[in-house]
Symmetry: C2
Subunit: 306 residues, 2 copies
């Protein structure tokens, strides 16, 4: 499963209800990773682990449930930025990752240890162990900012003219990534933002080609329903970056790499046009309101191949 | 004031009651500094700031009062060492220091910012901006361990054969240290462990000579009362490292750099012998049971010069 954050994590939480955990490999976006207060933060990797472990805060959609914020409150005493909230228990994950990384462990190894510590059976792999950073160019100022600056500090409430993946050209797929894609019965593209969540995964040299080589077994799930992203700025970004702001825009982005596109019932009217792009359409309820529906969507995804 | 941790911090908390804060400079041991979970930790600097700010936990003597431990509890899920406790609010200080240090700020600058953030008037200087680490050789194994390993993990409950200050030879005094010593009306050596708290301060090239050059204005306060350290292993260390395990051992260590030694009433009987070492003795109550007594001791220290 190629993964971004929240949408992918929900799908994975459904997948582990219909498959054995060890049959699953999550290949997770690292373009949102960043350093803050000396700590290494990997938001999408953590969202995947916390969600599959049932520990994510269901209201916020990020971070841990029953969290406290004492460190952040104390940090406000100091002259530093506090727009990115880090919960006290969540901090432990960043501290552990930072410690292990500074001791020389690659991110893939640390991510496996974190997943194991949370008792997960599925394999959690970063797309790359190398530094890859999503950089967003803002329309108004022309400024290039980090993904978190755009997404959290500016609440993705500003227009964007381009997205770059800094470091991608020199990044290598993390150990296991290409093998997992090559050996999978089904390669799933999770309902994550195609431009800023799946984009950075495919931008790691070798990954797009590996997925494309398995096109017949690739099932993508649209994150756009009735022209809107369920969460985040995927719909606006599609428009701002010159794509159609609907499931059709998603279909065009995935037509080269996927045989099948799972779309929501609300978008059934697009099925024919998507078919003309050479994509098989599977129409189902894609909105994962709860783990049961995530499990049902997972079954539909796994059954989607002809 | 040359400072270690707890004893020095209590004296400083008394000093700020009898002097304007901006008349005071604390020159603080950095030999106990270390890195943990990717964060830079400076225990003595923080103990000084938290204590003078009235925020130290009075029971533990370290860390913040009304502290919570959620991050540490969460950290125990991971495969890492958890013998060094970091409170949630305390973590903010380490996160801020680490962030600023990684951005290139020297420890002295960060320490000044932290002291200011806590509203302190006194100047808080690390003895050095360079890496200096107290290394303890254990008697039984011959193993060389970090100060925190000895002090916290092994609860200073093991015999020691030597103490080294790794990096001291290449360390420079932090900006302001030598000027503060040269320009002070009184140079105070706080009632800290002479071997592992004051020792690393004096080991920074230039500091011992600067103090010695002001010997007539140097007043040291004994951390040993009636043959015992009020806190920590100073008494045992004196014995293990070949010094007399009493205020006399302290006097011999300080005779070259101090004109005056403040000793406790319990040790009045040593005054004559200390006098023969060329040290003036001032006998008073040195046990800082509360801030009032710390203030009285501060007055005695400041009045100690002839």
């Amino acid at each position: 499963v190629l993964c971004g954050g929240v949408g992918a994590a929900k799908l994975l939480a459904g997948m582990v209800r219909v498959l054995e955990g060890d049959a699953l490999t999550a290949i997770v976006n690292v373009g949102d990773d960043f350093e803050l207060h000396g700590l290494e933060i990997s938001p999408d990797l953590d969202t995947v682990v916390y969600t599959v472990a049932g520990a994510i805060d269901p209201e916020r959609g990020w971070g841990l449930r029953d969290e406290t914020w004492h460190a952040m409150e104390a940090l406000s005493r100091y002259d530093t930025e506090t727009w990115f909230n880090l919960g006290d228990r969540d901090l432990a994950t960043h501290m552990y990752r930072t410690e292990r990384r500074r001791a020389g462990a690659p991110l893939s190894q640390v991510s496996a240890q974190i997943a194991r510590a949370w008792g997960l059976g599925l394999r959690v792999l970063p797309a790359s162990d190398d530094r890859l950073r999503t950089i967003v160019t803002l329309a108004e100022s022309g400024e290039q900012v980090s993904f978190q600056d755009y997404f959290v500090r500016q609440r993705h409430d500003v227009a964007v003219t381009r997205v770059d993946f800094d470091g991608a050209a020199d990044a290598a797929p993390a150990p296991g990534v290409l093998d997992a894609i090559a050996g999978a019965d089904v390669v799933v593209v999770a309902p994550s933002n195609p431009l800023i969540s799946i984009g950075p995964v495919l931008a790691v040299p070798g990954v797009r080609a590996a997925v494309q080589a398995r096109r017949d077994q690739v099932v993508a799930v649209s994150p756009i329903v009735a022209g809107q992203a369920l969460k985040g700025p995927a719909d606006r970004l599609l428009g701002e970056l010159g794509h159609e702001r609907s499931v059709l825009g998603v279909a065009r982005l995935y037509a080269e790499i996927a045989e099948t596109l799972v779309i929501d019932e609300a978008d059934a009217g697009y099925a024919e046009e998507i078919g003309r792009l050479g994509l098989r359409c599977v129409v189902t309820d894609t909105i994962m309101r709860d783990p049961d529906r995530a499990a049902r969507l997972s079954q539909a995804v796994l059954a989607a191949m002809p």
